[in-house]
């Protein structure tokens, strides 16, 4: 099955080791190349500067940090972002970003990412 996800470079930011392994495998199944994964904001921002990235999957809560600065940077570069979160609601403006509730199945992640890439072509920033 060919997918619009095939060959894309995905920044993964996730601080749970096991969840991270799972996501990497799912993304590889979709034909994506994983950039990272990063578990901290500073690590992720360094990757954003150094690497080519097509989209990012960001866990909102990174222990003591939130991943919002990474979302801000990516938004300024027009790189699509999917937030993964266990929170029911996020503070604005981040609540307007595409979200996926943890835990998620491979199919749910695929659906969300395909929608993200399809809509990102002409999308506006959440600001």
């Amino acid at each position: 099955m060919t997918s619009c996800l095939e060959g894309l470079r995905a920044l993964v930011v996730e601080d749970e080791m096991l969840v991270c392994m799972d996501i990497e495998q799912m993304l590889e199944e979709f034909g994506c190349t994983v950039v990272g994964p990063a578990a901290k904001v500073s690590q992720a921002l360094a990757l954003v500067d150094a690497e080519h990235i097509d989209f990012a999957l960001l866990d909102v809560n990174l222990g003591k940090e939130r991943s919002f600065p990474i979302a801000d940077r990516l938004a300024s570069m027009n790189i699509p972002v999917l937030l993964s979160t266990g929170y029911a609601h996020l503070e604005l403006p981040y609540d307007r970003l595409p979200k996926i509730q943890k835990p998620f199945s491979e199919q749910q992640l695929r659906d969300c990412l395909e929608e993200l890439m399809a809509s990102s072509a002409g999308s506006e920033s959440y600001f």
Binding site: E16, L18, V19, M21, D22, Q25, N61, T85, G86, Y87, A88, H89, Q101, K102, P103, F104, S105, Q108
Partner: protein
């Protein structure tokens, strides 16, 4: 001049008698002064007015006897007297002034001073005087009353218009001090703790510094009856009162205290009977506060009590609201954190399973496990959205069935029908899992395993607080009872029944599976 006849003389005498009768019977005091301002005639009313006999008025100008001093004690020289001017300036003078009685008291008069002329020459003055003390006192009393009403009205309007405690107490203290004629007034709060100290709240007529150097006043013999017994204390001279000066350490007013002789204290009593505090007034002169002042201040204190009660009620209500808001915010924060942790834990459990099963190659089992875990997680999401309060039964069913049917709203293959029923989070999780198992079975063997099958879910109260929910599959492949019971049927018939405190029956009807759940209706308020 023509010589007078006897008839003329008797006529003159008759006229003099008449004139004398007029003068002596006049209610106004009449005086005739000569060119030296000495009194040469005074009628009976004049004697009654001044207290002096005509003899006593001789030898000095009348001014020096009845008009020599101003009410404030200053000397009143004759040169300044307008009555005196009637003579040298030859014109009628009218006016009001204050005279001094023989016994020393002052009285208010209205006078007319007219020159007595002989041809071109002025030889004296006629002075008419009327005592207007009673009129003036009546006018002053009326003005006082008007002013009192104005202050009461202003204070009442102000008290009705504010719920600010500081404003209320200041307005009351100011108004009561003004009305009572006190040099200073204060409101003391009744602070109930060890020693029963009285807290100075506000002052009128004196700066706060005038009291700030002293320790908090205590419930002494003079303060106590007002603050603990709620009685009014009005003393003409507090330094002469037996209750005064009994308490250590000062035995009276502390050194440097504003001098107080007249003392009035009026309690401010709330509608519950507790004593908010007291209005206390002082004056350096004795005998300032009469019963009228006491009545006025008691009336103001009653208004103040209502206003303070209202302000306290508002304050308490606001504190209550703030406290509730804080507690709600805190609860939301905790719920958010709980959600996050639950979800992360579920994600980690899923990952462990994925990694474990992937190695063993048991893909079917992995999918079944994932399905159950996600069903649990989705029910959880619904509960989170409702902030761990309650979740609607229909919403729980729809959430569980969404992964199998896609969109559940307006789906021809699904009917969800029943009154709104709010489920506790625990019931919602259990029913969510139950619907997931039923849907999984339907997808494998039942109505969702072919294109034509439909599922009808209905629930209603069947009386005696029992909610009956039926899951009926139709138009699917023929159904036969399974050989052995799997996890799904065990979860439904044992686990769910237990969790719901009800019964769950699975009927493998050939036309389609039927599941009947009976449980205590969570909407039934009698339970």
């Amino acid at each position: 001049m023509t010589p007078q006849t006897g008839a003329d003389l008797s006529e003159t005498l008759r006229r003099l008698n008449l004139l004398n009768a007029v003068c002596e019977n006049a209610s106004g005091a009449l005086f005739v002064l000569n060119e030296e301002q000495h009194c040469i005639y005074m009628n009976t009313a004049g004697f009654e007015l001044t207290g002096f006999s005509l003899d006593e008025l001789q030898g000095r100008p009348l001014h020096d006897i009845i008009h020599h001093t101003h009410p404030d004690g200053r000397h009143y020289p004759i040169e300044d007297c307008p009555i005196d001017r009637a003579f040298p300036q030859s014109r009628r003078e009218r006016g009001q002034d204050v005279f001094v009685h023989k016994d020393g008291h002052f009285y208010n008069v209205e006078y007319t001073a007219s020159p007595v002329e002989e041809g071109e020459t002025i030889v004296g003055t006629v002075l008419e005087v009327r005592d207007i003390t009673a009129e003036i006192q009546a006018r002053i009393a009326l003005e006082d009353e008007t002013r009192t009403l104005e202050i009461l009205n202003r204070t009442g309007a102000m008290l009705a218009g504010t719920l600010d405690l500081d404003e209320i107490v200041q307005a009351v203290t100011d108004a009561a001090t003004e009305l009572s004629g006190a040099q200073f007034g204060a409101f003391f709060y009744n602070v109930v703790h060890e020693g029963h100290a009285l807290q100075l709240y506000t002052l009128a007529g004196a700066p706060k510094e005038a009291f700030s150097a002293f320790p908090q006043p205590q419930h002494t013999a003079i303060f106590g009856p007002t603050f603990t017994g709620g009685t009014v204390i009005r003393v003409a001279d507090v330094t002469a009162d037996p209750r005064y000066g009994q308490s250590a350490p000062f035995h009276g007013m502390p050194p440097g205290h504003l001098p107080v002789r007249s003392y009035l204290s009026v309690p401010v009593i709330s509608r519950t009977g507790s004593i908010h505090g007291a209005l206390i007034f002082g004056h350096g002169m004795p005998g300032i506060f009469g019963p009228r002042v006491e009545r006025l201040v008691v009336a103001i204190a009653a208004q103040a009590a209502i206003a303070i009660d209202n302000a306290n009620l508002l304050d308490a209500a606001q504190k209550e609201i703030e406290e509730r808001q804080r507690s709600e915010d805190h609860q939301k924060l905790l719920a958010q954190e709980l959600n996050h942790r639950v979800k992360n834990m579920l994600a980690t459990v899923q990952s462990i399973a994925t990694q474990t099963f992937r190695a063993s190659g048991e893909q079917a089992l992995l999918r079944m496990f994932q399905g159950r875990l996600l069903a649990l997680s989705h029910s959880h999401s619904l509960i989170m959205q409702e902030n761990w309060t309650t979740v609607d039964l229909k919403a729980i069913a729809a959430t569980a069935l969404t992964p199998f049917l896609g969109e559940v709203v307006n789906n021809d293959r699904l009917l969800l029908d029943g009154e709104p029923v709010q489920l506790s989070p625990k019931l919602a999780l259990a029913l969510g899992m139950g619907f997931h198992e039923l849907a999984t079975n339907a997808a494998k063997y039942g109505a969702l395993s072919c294109e034509t099958g439909v599922i009808e879910v209905r629930w209603r109260d069947i009386g005696e607080g029992i909610l009956c929910l039926t899951w009926v599959e139709k138009h699917g492949p023929p159904v036969c009872a399974p050989q052995s019971r799997g996890f799904g049927s065990r979860l439904l018939e044992r686990g769910l029944a237990h969790e719901l405190h009800g019964t769950v029956r699975l009927l493998y009807d050939a036309a389609g599976l039927v599941c009947e759940i009976r449980m205590p209706n969570p909407e039934d308020v009698t339970q």
